[in-house]
Amino acid sequence: MNGNLLEIKGLYKNFKKSKVLKGISVGIKKGEKVALIGPSGSGKSTLLRCMNLLEEPTYGEVWLGDNLLTPVDPYLHPEIIKSSRTFSKLLRETDGSDAAAEELVARIKREDLLHEKHEGLTYSREMRDYLNTYKIDINKARARVGMVFQHFNLFNNLTVMQNLTLAPVELKLKTKEEAEAKGMELLERIGLPDKRDVYPSTLSGGQKQRIAIIRALAMNPEIILFDEPTSALDPEMVGEVLDLIRDLAEEGMTMVIVTHEMAFAREVADRVLFVCDGVIAESGTPEEIFDHPKNPRLQQFLQCVL
């Protein structure tokens, strides 16, 4: 859809009563590197985890290319709203003009007036058709999106090589031999071929994270999501991990990085999003964000971290 590799539309996320994400829309193009920055608790991780549905959005849609990962959000589709009973009932109370219809669509959205169960057959059919056309199995989608965690999350019961080959082989993307060949190639790339048969508990933090990164690469992902990849590392190991991520960026890998390493964000990102109180409060090139911040919260935030 409109050239975005990954797109988030009208995303809201509530945990019980607390509203964490409040209306986020963002598209990420192929080859683009996007950095998410913002104060602690602002919702950066939640936003990132919604991108591969580790968190299920409360409202809104997540698209991977032409594939819809979430359920259909009727509020994002005026034609679906217009097919609902609520719409036709309320429209009768107006003069029925186009302007009134548009206003009504906006009102239904604003006041959350749709009730799935009472909207009639046309509405249900529209929803179902939409799903049938675009919906993709979430496991298939996740196989195309790599994820790197703050705490590495290597599989503790598997050797390094098994960590690299498990998913590609289980999902039948590669044979065991192909997966191991690729695994070896990746291990050589990060200079750790001798670690192929050891268990994760024997590795240093920096080694673990670099292996977690090549574990994502072993799936040939279209995009990689990083959630503070260096925050859990001892300072002397941050460099080796950032070097690897920088290499990937230079090779043209599409990536989204949540990070507190402002210098790194500035250097690697094409676009920086400042997340604050559950919305994207400002977005722009690293120069715009770091050198000419407009939002007062961003200015304040940069003063604290720089």
């Binding site: 591969n52 580790l54 496991n139 298939k140 989608a141 996740r142 196989a143 195309r144 999106v145 790599g146 994820m147 965690f149 705490h151 999350n153 290597l154 599989f155 503790n156 019961n157 598997l158 498990l166 998913a167 289980e170 999902l171 268990y199 508990s201 024997t202 977690a212 574990r215 994502a216 799936m219």
Partner: protein
Amino acid sequence: MTFVDKIAKLWSLRGVFAESLGYSLLIALGAVILGFIIGVVLAVIRIAPKNNIVVRLLDKIAVLYITVIRGTPTLVQLLILYNSVLVSFKSMSTNLLVPIIAFGINSGAYMAEIIRSGISSIDVGQMEAGRSAGLSWLTTMKKIIIPQAIKVVIPTIFNEIIILVKETSVVSYIVLKVDSRQKWDLLGMAEKQGLATPACYLTFLFFAAIMYLAVVMLLTLVQHLIERRFKKNER
């Protein structure tokens, strides 16, 4: 009877006692395997995300099963099973299947809770890493979570096995009552021989106690060996 006579008597019965010890162990082994399988399945059902009606229903059944089994005496369960199954399958009384099933069902409820606690102790990041690589919940469970959970609960599982080995002696009560042609478990054999030679009764009981103790000590040793092996595996 002198002490030496009693020991001589015991020695002359070594064949039947050895056989009965074998039956006790066989019942325990069968029950452990059955209980472990039941336990893993129940634990997975209990821990599964309750996002569809089938899982919710299975979960309710699992809870009921665990509650009832853990809430009633083993002997009562055993008696109920014997008296219901025995009526319809007379021939089953002569083999070990009924006690294996009875103790397996019983132990399954305990194992379920043990394994469930093991699964809960595994960092959620492991599941997240599996899911974000595109593996299904069940595959991640099988390949990543359960192997790690089992390792965590090995000591507790061994406690359960030890309890089970001792608890198999409960069948002696039924074996004596129900059918005199049956295979005798260790305690049952001690009782039977004790009735035949009352002077040696206490000696046989002591002998049975020593045998149980020996088996339990052996199991404890195996437990330590397994734990050590696991540790070495990951260093």
